[in-house]
Symmetry: C2
Subunit: 306 residues, 2 copies
């Protein structure tokens, strides 16, 4: 059994705990490193097993298993960090390999840290609860850099009890951790986050492109606007990339496009029109048509310059 949250004295905060982790992608691997550094023993599973073996060789105290069901059978706390909603569905409910639900221990907690459709998240949570477990959605913002530095912004949804149970684990992975509401609320907040990112990139792209045509150097403009009402993380980071024409991702155009579609899907579900997001989604489509889908989303400024 896991120790009941934290550990006394100078022991690492997750000493003695075992945590399951499914999905060892660009984000999942540094997250596992941080969990391991915090003292947790890991049971890991990944579609490509070699990735899991490599992590086990690197970290120690890592057990590699062959299915999500085997992860679930071995621990009371599982984290899934997967690319999309379909992957989460497969990992939870799949048959080959056997999904989490076929191995779930009574009382186990599943934490979904990927960006998943909010409606699907609620369905997944119901399935897990029906099997005797509990569910927290906890998608993140901050990218690989944030995952490595354990400085991720984490937006969580779930009951207060489930959230508090997840909290010691989330604290080893991120900095600003907020319970946004019941199950699915983390995903709603994440979509809102992505909407603001996509639309603010659009704002900065149009402003910098107009400025350049109007005789103002974009780098000078950024400096002029720093600290004022127009200032933002996007202006500081993505505005710099636009000024320099340096579009190595970072967040990719195709991902931004996917997220804007998630926002439109959620908007349709809850009955609200989002004209800004709809236009923004079209701009990402144009980017992809131009063959720029794999560039950093700050490359949006190219639409205005060619």
């Amino acid at each position: 059994m896991d120790a009941p949250g934290g550990a006394p004295g100078n022991a690492p905060p997750l000493a003695g705990r075992s945590i399951g982790f499914i999905g060892l992608g660009l984000m999942g691997r540094p997250m596992c490193r941080n969990l391991s550094a915090a003292g947790a023993a890991l049971i890991v599973q990944n579609r490509t097993r070699a990735m899991a073996e490599a992590l086990a060789a690197e970290l120690g105290r890592v057990q590699v298993v062959d299915s999500p069901a085997a992860v679930a059978a071995a621990t009371d706390l599982l984290i899934a960090n997967l690319a999309d909603t379909a992957a989460v569905e497969q990992v939870l409910l799949g048959e080959t390999p056997a999904g989490v639900l076929s191995g779930l221990r009574p009382g186990a907690l599943v934490i979904d840290m990927g960006t998943t459709a909010a409606g699907a998240t609620r369905r997944f949570a119901e399935a897990v609860r029906a099997a005797g477990g509990d569910y927290v959605d906890a998608p993140v913002s901050g990218g690989v850099v944030g995952a490595e530095a354990a400085s991720l912004t984490i937006m969580a949804g779930g009951s207060v009890a489930a959230f508090e149970r997840a909290l010691p684990v989330l604290r080893t992975l991120g900095a600003n951790i907020t319970r946004c509401g019941e199950v699915g609320a983390g995903q709603v907040a994440k979509i809102a986050n992505q909407m603001i990112v996509g639309l603010t990139i659009g704002a900065v792209a149009e402003a910098l492109a107009l400025a350049r045509r109007g005789g103002v150097d974009p780098a000078t403009l950024r400096q002029a606007l720093a600290g004022g009402f127009a200032d933002s993380r996007i202006l500081a980071l993505h505005g710099k990339r636009m000024a320099e024409g340096s579009f190595t991702p970072g967040g990719k155009v195709v991902t931004q496009r996917k997220d804007m579609q998630l926002a439109l899907d959620l908007a349709a579900e809850v009955g609200i029109e989002l004209p800004g997001v709809a236009l923004n989604r079209e701009l990402w489509d144009r980017m992809i048509e131009q063959g720029w889908g794999e560039l950093d989303h700050s490359a949006l400024i190219k639409l205005y310059e060619d």
Copy 2:
């Protein structure tokens, strides 16, 4: 004659200088107070003379005159802070009352601190130069609060020599002062600033409205996103107003609409399409149609909630 920039020892930085100031509106009055506190003697003119008389009674070392020409005849450095391009044209080139050009001293510097169309600014600068003067456009961001605190962001355009001549004066009025390029570049930067403000308000409005419909409290969402990629001055300030439903201006919807039109006009002039701005301008039009033109621009969220 004015002292040549600054003053020695502990004297106020503008001690012994005389500065003309035309346009004593919500922004102009606190700016005059800061110039006066920095030691300048002011020659002021305002369409409504009573406003100028009141300021003279309050400050001392203020001479009230009846025309822009009379201001120009009395000093080598004039500031105009006016509501729009038409007002600047009237003050510079007008006949009744006589405009700045009919009184301009050789070598005088005119600083236009209002938000004026960039193309018109260049024409005004040519007229002033033809009359033997020089011109700096130096529009500001930061509102009445920034004007009072002398913390305005100032975006300047003009020759290096003219900018450096204006700098000691601008330093008594603002904090982040940037020369963005030749004459007109300050206006281009200001338009870019207003574009980002308007579009970011649009981004935050759509995100907070969707979040609320999706079961996430907007105030909680703001907290969750603080410090992440979605964070901005707009999220912090205008997002708070949206979460609280408190729409006392601040920046008005009608002003934001005017600025987005300025951006579209400049875009047409330099041959660039700005679909985000075009949509955003329509949203402000809808706000005005709804009778919400005098509310703070953060009221945009109302379009998504009614």
